[in-house]
Symmetry: C2
Subunit: 396 residues, 2 copies
């Protein structure tokens, strides 16, 4: 109960915390097989290397690391981030175009703070990442879903919705999308950049899964087609080094970066210098590419194992077949309710996230999101077997 | 320039970034003596110990540290934080009453997010910490200054202002206040807790300097007088271990903590696990008390050196005589303009922060804030000599 006389802010009306975070708390049951969450595999977390890098950074530049830093970033990290971006992307980028973030989620918070007013419209994929939907809702944004197919957002639907709603932002995860694992087709990318320019909204491209590609060729991010600064690109080291370190970054027009930095001053002032220093060394020593190469085969095997288990699911089960990322999205036949079945699944030792939470408009109770990265192959086979049996019994 | 069609949020009207952060950028001039900022002494930053602790933490619990963590905190840190709080404070505290913050500044952001609407009133000391004033302004709060004397906020003035303005929050730094170094008198503390209860506002007690006491006895925080959950206490490890790690905490009613945790989910999700793990070990091994004991004499000497230099300043110079903290606040005779003189001071190699930035109502151009912790004794004597000469010349 709140103290007498104290009331919640209006922006918290209807906000009750992320469904995924609440599910995480349920997952303390010993031995549970969790296809919920979006955690990297523990095997993919380079803690021994990080142990040496953190020690080395603190011994060689420890006074600067432990002292207050600049909101704009720890200088050596900015250098190596720029080198990394220039090596891997074809968009132009200078120091004034990047801002280190305490996880790329912070980017949405800062963009909302600096560029949106309550009641503004934000276009989102449907389904989309529920964590960032919550952020948008706290900023009292009007979320309007845009129709997608297997190739991502439909351009005609997008343009019609833009014309009707005059959005401030489009929030889009073009590659190995959360929760579907889908990738926006190559030929749909440039038109989105053009639309953002033509209609004057910011296209916020959230791209944390890009490097986890198990098949097919890399596609250029939307940002590479941006000639008018209407695309804000957000990257993250969460899925390729460590999420617990909380380090991502934003790439944008210098004035967008400057205003977001002001917003960051009054949030966490700056991202932990030690985290930035560790990733600086990780990049500077060329450790990232071999690390990614090392973790990909394991993730690919897990994806394939889960897909092969899904082949044996009841008739009428549909699911995405991602080329990368961490998630498969499943639609069971109509009438199935993934939320109702969730409790039974957890009792039998398996967890997932009901898909309805990812839809801005709700509904779609027959869907669920499965994460494959944070389970062993044996857990995938066992857990999917349990789900198959349970789901089959619910459908009969 | 912003991309076409893109506009700033209304909450950013008149927001141009913290004056201190802007001053930091000026301070790249080689050899400058900076009495600006609020940095701990580099000598007080235990980087060698932290190097070993970070390595040890990552080797012993690295998978958990590098993985996603709970918004509510890294479990071992929560344990040692509770033990630390119970040992040092007499307010009751359970796990549900604490939230790790990415610096205690984040606490103001989260409280504003969860409990204030645009146009609400927040009472602040005058002068007060400008960083948090900026945060309050971004949340479109109406800042109302409360009159103070050498003993801190005047209770009569506070109660009158509360009756007139029905504030949502009182933001107060009771001990070694920023920017004045003043400490709220013991007998004024309980009445503030009672007033918060009687009138139904939250008293936000920001207490990062408490342990930097060079003279006098510890005073109980306002939170120790709180029997109705109207006091939110914020502590920080920035001034006693490291600000660059970004680790503070909030102590409050469980429902306040729960709502702030939801706000934190959509900001940085959780504070860096590694930072929490390092401070966990620091506390668990009993390193904090000896570290504080080790750094206090140096800070005391610096405070005294700066105070003795101020004795030689022109007649009519007034200044605070703090018993702890990092700052002395100086009022030069009327007519002196610390902002105008700032540029000359920097040219002569010395920086400070003009005091006007700390006043919610502006004015007070004759005042300035001096930080003594981040300079050597020699720099204090040299720098204060330069300021004395410069200020004297401006007054003649």
């Amino acid at each position: 109960m709140l103290p007498s006389g104290v009331t919640y802010a209006e922006r918290f009306n209807g906000i009750s915390g992320s469904a995924i975070r609440a599910i995480f708390k349920v997952l303390t049951k010993p031995g549970i097989i969790s296809f919920a969450g979006g955690n990297p595999s523990n095997d993919a977390l380079p803690n021994e290397v990080c142990a040496e890098l953190s020690r080395e950074a603190l011994l060689s530049d420890g006074k600067r690391i432990l002292q207050y830093g600049a909101t704009e970033g720890y200088p050596p990290f900015l250098e190596s981030l720029l080198a990394y971006l220039r090596q891997n992307y074809r968009f132009p980028v200078e120091k004034e175009n990047v801002l280190p973030l305490s996880g790329s989620t912070q980017g949405i918070d800062l963009l909302c703070k600096a560029f949106t007013n309550p009641g503004d419209t934000v276009l989102v994929e449907s389904p989309t990442f529920l964590g960032n939907m919550q952020t948008l809702r706290i900023y009292q944004q009007h979320l309007v879903p845009v129709e997608s197919d297997e190739q991502g957002v439909l351009l005609g639907a997008l343009e019609n919705t833009v014309k009707q709603t005059h959005p401030k932002l489009l929030y889009i995860i073009p590659t190995f999308q959360n929760p579907t694992g889908r990738t926006l087709a190559s030929e749909r990318r440039e038109p989105i950049a053009r639309m953002a320019e033509k209609y004057g909204f910011l296209a916020v491209e959230d791209d944390p899964y890009r490097d986890l590609r198990y098949a097919g060729a890399f596609l250029p991010p939307i940002k590479e087609y941006d000639h008018s600064d209407h695309v804000v690109y957000m990257g993250s080291f969460s899925k390729i080094i460590s999420p617990g370190m909380r380090l991502g970054y934003m790439v944008a027009n210098a004035d967008i970066i400057a205003k977001c930095a002001i917003g960051k001053q009054s949030s966490d002032l700056h991202t932990s210098n030690l985290t930035q220093a560790m990733v600086d060394l990780y990049l500077r020593r060329g450790l990232l590419a071999p690390h990614i190469a090392e973790i990909l085969p394991g993730y690919r095997d897990k994806l394939n194992a889960m897909l092969s288990e899904l082949e044996t699911f009841p008739e009428g089960t549909r699911y995405t077949r991602p080329e990368g990322g961490l998630f498969i999205f499943v639609a069971m036949p109509e009438g199935f309710n993934a939320g109702d079945v969730f409790k039974d699944a957890v009792e039998r030792g398996v967890a997932y996230v009901p898909g309805t939470s990812f839809y801005p408009e709700g509904g779609h109770e027959n869907t669920l999101r499965l994460n494959f990265s944070n389970s062993t192959l044996a857990q995938i086979h066992t857990g999917m077997g349990i789900l198959r049996e349970l789901f089959t019994s619910k459908l009969s």
